[in-house]
């Protein structure tokens, strides 16, 4: 068994140090950069849907902001927080299959039954689209379930509430709140959310949302989406 000479030791030391440096760079910097780039690119999807349906404009930013706060409140792991952020941007990708006229011609309360069914299909369509894309496949279930309610009366119908990812529950609660606040104001929205706690809406998420909304640091002006 031989011994290393000076040159070998020097080369080996340099390489091992470089490896440590590169490994740390990949682990902390590159991976984070990769995730940020992905999130960044996913904004294009939410923007596209907001342009297609102007009634949705500004909703993504409002939903995103609240989701991030709720994720912190619920002490979600970092990876789950990141996934939640990505699903916010992808949640309505299936709306591209909903005819332009349905949303833009008249208000939601004037939709026919078939139009309502067409709209309800968008979650399933969104999930199916994401299944085709390897790097986004892991979000397909969350997108498919983002309108699933805690009492399984939402869409699409699932056999078991445990099939619904927590990310989808968060989206369901936040989206409901944002739309209610837009149409009815924040007080009625909060009251409706409280009433649906444990029924249509996941109780833990509702508690987190109410905690976020009532925390001293959050005021009406700080919410990115101002009610019409």
């Amino acid at each position: 068994m031989g011994e290393l000479n000076g040159v070998s030791r020097l080369l080996l030391s340099i390489l091992l140090l470089m490896s440590l440096g590169v490994g740390a760079y990949v682990r902390w910097r590159m991976t984070r950069h990769c995730n940020r780039r992905l999130i960044d690119s996913l904004r294009a999807f939410s923007t596209a849907m907001e342009l297609r349906f102007p009634s949705h404009r500004g909703v993504t930013d409002a939903v995103l902001d609240l989701c991030q706060k709720i994720a912190v409140e619920m002490m979600m792991p970092r990876k789950q927080q990141r996934d939640l952020e990505m699903v916010v941007h992808l949640r309505d990708i299936g709306l591209c299959t909903v005819p332009y006229g349905i949303f833009n011609a008249r208000a939601e309360d004037r939709w026919t039954l078939s139009e309502r069914e067409r709209y309800n299909q968008h979650a399933e369509d969104g999930g199916a689209m994401l299944e085709q894309i390897p790097s986004l496949r892991r979000f397909a279930t969350a997108v498919r379930c983002h309108h699933c309610s805690y009492d399984r009366l939402g869409f699409p119908q699932l056999r078991d509430v445990s099939e619904i990812p927590m990310v989808s529950h968060v989206l369901n609660v936040v989206t409901a709140y944002v739309w209610l606040e837009k149409t009815q104001g924040d007080l009625l929205a909060c009251e409706t959310i409280r009433q649906q706690r444990g029924k249509a809406l996941h109780p833990v998420v509702v508690d987190a949302l109410l905690a976020v909304l009532t925390s001293p640091g959050v005021s009406q002006q700080q919410l990115p989406y101002a009610p019409v």
Binding site: M1, S8, L12, L15, L16, Y25, V26, R37, S41, R43
Partner: protein
């Protein structure tokens, strides 16, 4: 070059390479360099090479896999004869292929395995010959950095050229543009490989085989970097695919149109002298140039009758919408303006910004010409036809483009496009 011609060329080149490999192996046998010295060191190197071969990084878009066996082959070449190194490289390739077949979901194509073995044989033979020539011209005994670097550089260069050649045969890309596009990352990788090879060979000359596993650390680090880079590239292209899919769900007629426009736009860009990287960006911009139509009423887009002024104004929003969608993502920054201006005209009567000749990016001009041509000609399927227009014959469409050159389209771009179409031999029908 159609599919049949491509396949027959690939088969021919593969046969030539296999013959070359057999000849190289035979000549190596004649050299009677059967050394297999320092068994422990050699076996350790063989094991490390095998492990490196078993953990490749897939560049899945291109179908290529990058492995990290080179430093260990350099070590083997230092202490063993040419035959031993050839056998080692081929054996590692075969064993790794069998392992992939067994453990992965994808079936291995043995024709490609044979091709890889042939590439390995030829590459190792040429690299070792070059290394021996350098050894003969230098007087150093034992660790010879010049010889090691020669082996590393020659191996990398020959392997790179052979793999790129076959990749271009399969993908029908130009060899020159592919080589240029891959040269920079190739040179950086080579520099790092050279350092690792030098370290491995210096350890081998000291027969300190117990240190060899430590040299796997930089290999793993390199692999990690490449994996993340490959992942980022993959995500970028999958985002483009997903955006495209979204548009096609809303407007099904766009599918064939976007693919055709993208392919042709890249070729026109290359003909106009754009570098391969920029031409590739033009292709991506062409795939996404109509993404703004996702925000346009499909009933208006598909209306067979003439559009009202209000409807035209609505449709004219799509380049702006496209730019707004892409501007949200930093990685699309280079192509945002090209997408925004793809309906501008040289005479300033275009939209959305009424730019004139000098202000319109050349890339937008390329997309404008190709887009207009495809809108006039359509595709081979009935679903590729526009609802509001009877398709023109390709030559008539070219005449129309030339009629509008100078006012709507850039004459230089029109000329380049005409040459590209005629060169590709697609006179009879615009086909994908």
């Amino acid at each position: 070059m159609n599919m049949d011609q491509g396949s027959s060329q690939l088969a021919l080149h593969t046969r030539v390479l296999i013959i070359a490999a057999v000849v190289a192996a035979a000549l190596s046998t004649l050299a009677q360099d059967w050394r297999f010295a320092h068994q422990r060191v050699s076996l350790m190197l063989l094991l490390l090479a095998l492990i490196a071969e078993l953990i490749p990084v897939s560049l899945s878009r291109s179908g290529l896999r990058v492995t990290f066996t080179l430093p260990f082959l350099a070590g083997l070449a230092q202490v063993n004869g040419i035959i031993a190194v050839i056998i080692a490289d081929v054996a590692v390739t075969l064993v790794a292929s069998c392992a992939h077949e067994r453990f992965s979901l994808k079936r291995v194509r043995w024709s490609w395995v044979m091709l890889n073995c042939a590439v390995s044989t030829v590459t190792v033979a040429i690299a070792i010959v070059a290394m021996r020539l350098v050894e003969m011209t230098t007087t150093s005994q034992g660790f010879n950095p010049a010889a090691t670097l020669t082996f590393t550089v020659v191996y990398t260069a020959v392997n790179f050229l052979l793999v790129t050649h076959f990749y271009c045969l399969v993908s029908r890309e130009r060899m020159s543009s592919t080589v240029i596009a891959r040269l920079k990352p190739g040179v950086i990788g080579l520099a790092l490989y050279s350092l690792v090879s030098l370290c491995v060979v210096s350890i081998v000359t000291n027969a300190a085989y117990w240190c060899l596993p430590l040299t796997f650390a930089p290999v793993l680090a390199l692999r990690a970097v490449l994996r993340v880079r490959a992942q980022m590239d993959e995500q970028y292209y999958e985002t483009i695919t997903a955006l495209n899919a979204m548009l096609q769900r809303a407007h099904p007629y766009t599918h064939g149109h976007l693919e055709r426009v993208a392919k042709m736009a890249e070729q026109v860009g290359l003909r106009l002298g754009l570098n391969p990287t920029r031409a590739r960006l033009v292709r991506e911009a062409a795939i996404l140039h109509d993404i703004g139509k996702i925000a346009i009423d499909e009933a208006v887009l598909d209306k067979p009758a003439r559009l009202t002024e209000e409807e035209m104004e609505h449709v004219r929003l799509h380049p702006e919408f496209g730019a707004m969608i892409l501007a949200k993502s930093g990685q699309f920054a280079p192509i945002v303006e090209w997408v925004r201006h793809h309906h501008e005209r040289l005479d300033g009567s275009g939209y959305p910004d009424k730019l004139t000749d000098k202000d319109i990016p050349i890339e937008s001009k390329i997309i404008a010409v190709v887009d207009a041509y495809d809108a006039m000609v359509g595709g081979p399927k009935s679903t590729d036809q526009r609802s509001y227009r009877v398709p023109l014959e390709p030559l008539d469409a070219l005449v129309e483009l030339e009629r509008c050159a100078g006012t709507q389209f850039d004459p230089v771009v029109v000329d380049a496009f005409r040459k590209t179409v005629l060169h590709s031999g697609r006179r009879a029908r615009w086909a994908s």
